[in-house]
């Protein structure tokens, strides 16, 4: 069963990568001309994918600190998996936002000509630091296993392990304890960093006073809770498929534990959402109201009602209540369904991200502006084009393939060893 799913994920990722390549070709040969975002709705699908992935990354990282900082024993085997997921998602997020720039080659200006009053400059600073932390942390988390694989492994894994162990060879208990101590310090530094940069992405939208739908102090919090809910869900699904499964009971236990966390987070996120809708719809201000009305009964009502609410909240919550919560029958295998529910949450979360980015921009800042002059991009409607979808498909597949290949070649999952001290 699991190997079938793994195979399926490989196939989908490879096909996505191949098909998406055409989108990338178009992106590099036709620039922004085949996209539907423009002057009045300047941000589109790629920005939505960016906040989706960056949320998955921040959340996975924060969950990995449950292992390395909080040292929750139950989760000790999935620390590396969480870190590696954080890495894959970070790469996909950065690729997605890079594709969105009108001048991709100038991305360095964000650091070179930094403007500290711009949240986007802060993103540049925080992502670079976070990237560093994730890489270093991954290395320490993998070090002892890399050394072992370098000695005893075979084929590609062995060569790669030799290369990546950078000459380190000490796998004594003391050395491993030292690794854990370092991981803890890195994790502790990483926690405020991950909160800052993902809260910061929320702030990036939150500070835009011109778009009242974004302009709320709760934005960073909503982003963080969303990040934890979606990444917790992704991780739960990932753990089920790629995680250590030597002991069925243990896996079952982990799955239930994670399932409960995800359930709580999804519900809390939903609570925030309800509050946002109730307050927003009470308002008479068009810029507050219109985006919400568009979400609920605009052209793309199904993004909210079907993709997000039904598939992303109602169904998973029912499953999780039924499988993750009940006590009494601890040995009844529940992992598969919990993983399925979590997969639904994780995948459909892109709908939430989409509804954050797009509807806020559909309200003309000057009423009637859309009729004043016409031309490409001078409109307040947006529908991602095939090319935009293809690029996002490529970026997503790239992230997934990075994960799959890493998981194959690196000692990410090792059921034999405890990861927490």
């Amino acid at each position: 069963m699991k190997s079938t799913i793994k195979g399926l994920v490989w196939i989908i990722a490879v096909i996505g990568f191949g098909v998406g390549l055409y989108g990338m070709f178009l992106r590099f040969t036709t620039g922004d001309r085949l996209t539907d975002y423009g002057s009045y709705i300047p941000w589109g699908l790629w920005v939505a994918f960016y906040i989706y992935f960056i949320g998955l990354s921040a959340g996975s990282f924060l969950l990995s600190t449950l292992v390395y900082v909080a040292r929750i024993e139950k989760l000790e085997k999935i620390g590396k998996l969480a870190l590696f997921t954080a890495f894959g998602c970070l790469v996909a997020a950065l690729l997605s936002i890079w594709m969105d720039l009108g001048h991709m080659a100038r991305v360095g200006n964000v650091l070179l000509h930094m403007n500290l009053s711009s949240m986007m400059s802060w993103m540049g600073i925080l992502y670079s630091s976070y990237f560093g932390i994730v890489i270093i942390e991954l290395w320490f988390a993998l070090r002892s296993d890399l050394v072992k694989t370098a000695k005893t492994g075979s084929g590609g894994s062995r060569t790669l392990a030799r290369l990546l162990s950078f000459g380190s060879s000490d796998i004594s208990a003391e050395a491993r304890a030292a690794d854990h101590a370092k991981l803890r310090v890195l994790g502790i530094i990483g926690i405020p960093l991950a909160i800052a940069f993902h809260g910061g992405v929320g702030a990036l939208f939150g500070v835009i006073q011109a778009r009242p739908h974004w302009n709320t102090p709760l934005m960073p919090i909503t982003f963080l809770i969303g990040a934890l809910a979606s990444s917790g869900a992704l991780l739960t699904a990932v753990v089920y498929i790629w995680g250590p499964d030597k002991s069925k009971e243990q896996l079952n236990d982990i799955m239930r534990f994670l399932g409960k966390i995800v359930l709580a987070l999804v519900l809390f996120d939903f609570l925030l959402e309800i509050s946002e809708f109730l307050i927003g719809l009470y308002s008479m201000v068009p810029a507050e109201r219109l985006p919400l009305e568009a979400i609920l009964h605009g052209h793309f009502w199904y993004v909210f009602w079907i993709v997000h609410l039904l598939i992303g909240v109602v169904i998973p919550v029912i499953i999780l209540f039924a499988r993750a919560v009940p006590k009494g029958r601890p040995d009844k295998p529940a992992g598969g369904l919990i993983a399925f529910a979590c997969l639904l949450v994780a995948v459909t979360f892109i709908a939430v991200r989409f509804n954050i980015v797009i509807p806020a921009q559909i309200n003309p800042e000057i009423p009637g502006l859309q009729y004043a002059f016409s031309g490409p991009g001078l409109k307040f409607t947006y529908l991602p084009t095939t090319m935009e979808w293809l690029v996002s498909t490529w970026v997503t597949s790239f992230g997934v393939l990075l994960f799959l290949i890493g998981e194959k070649l690196l000692p990410i999952v090792n059921p034999e060893h405890r990861e927490a001290a």
Binding site: T35, Y37, G38, S39, N109, H113, A210, E365, G377
Partner: protein, 241 residues
């Protein structure tokens, strides 16, 4: 109506003289300002077109659209017109959000963009409460015809530099763009294109720091209003309503 009493033939002469006086001052002593009289605007969009021609604006890029509002019910309808250039805000949110310092407030009040530094993130477009910034995606009017005409590749002279459109990659393509108050003309002593083409003499331009100037006088009118002042952006562009 308390229209300020300026003889029609005097207006342009006076504004040209205002310009000359302002240009003699150091740059930080002058503050360019535009005043638009909505009561005089007839909605002909001559300014919009003149601006497109002056700045060689490609499809999808517009600096000064004229927004029409219809009031009343047919047959008793009236129209009001709102030409919308950049407000050259004194507290410009577009400048605050730019991650690359590619856009800034000049001492003479103009919000400038360095197209060569702009990364095309469009954060400023999101942040401008007037939708005054548009994104240059690299279209040509003669796209889809056998030949992209040479006149479309001619440079625009925004901010006193040359910005040709020889290909689809180099700036200003891929950048955020907006009204410059035709600063390249102004610094040569010529009024902005929209001002010179306005058939109703509804747009005034000059140095608001000079109490003798026409704009300074108009800014004191009880009819003077700023657009969406509650945003706290302190717009320079002022309307007479």
């Amino acid at each position: 109506m308390a229209l300020i009493d300026v003889e029609r033939h005097e207006i342009r002469e006076r504004m040209m003289n205002d310009l000359q006086r302002a240009l003699k001052k150091p740059i930080n002593k002058r503050h360019w300002a535009m005043v638009i009289d909505q009561a005089k605007c007839v909605g002909c969009t001559a300014c919009t077109t003149a601006c497109v021609a002056e700045n060689h604006l490609p499809p999808g890029v517009v600096y000064r659209p004229v927004v029409e509002t219809e009031v009343g019910k047919y047959p008793n309808v009236r129209k009001t017109f709102l030409p919308r250039p950049c407000m050259q805000c004194d507290d410009p949110p577009c400048v605050k959000v730019c991650p690359a310092h590619a856009t800034w407030k000049r001492p003479d009040g103009i919000v400038e963009i360095n197209y060569n530094r702009c990364i095309g993130c469009r954060y400023c477009i999101s942040a401008c409460p007037y939708s005054a910034r548009t994104f240059d995606k690299g279209f040509f009017y003669t796209d889809g015809t056998p030949e992209i005409m040479d006149y479309e590749k001619e440079p625009s002279f925004e901010y006193g530099r040359e910005w040709p459109r020889r290909n689809r990659e180099t700036s200003p393509i891929g950048n955020a763009r907006k009204c410059t108050y035709c600063i390249h003309r102004v610094e040569k002593g010529i009024l902005p294109a929209c001002v010179t083409t306005c058939i109703g003499d509804a747009t005034y331009f000059g140095d608001r720091n000079d109490p003798e100037s026409l704009v300074a006088e108009l800014l004191g009118s009880p009819r003077a209003r700023k657009l969406r002042e509650e945003e706290g952006t302190k717009p320079t562009t002022t309307y007479l309503v």
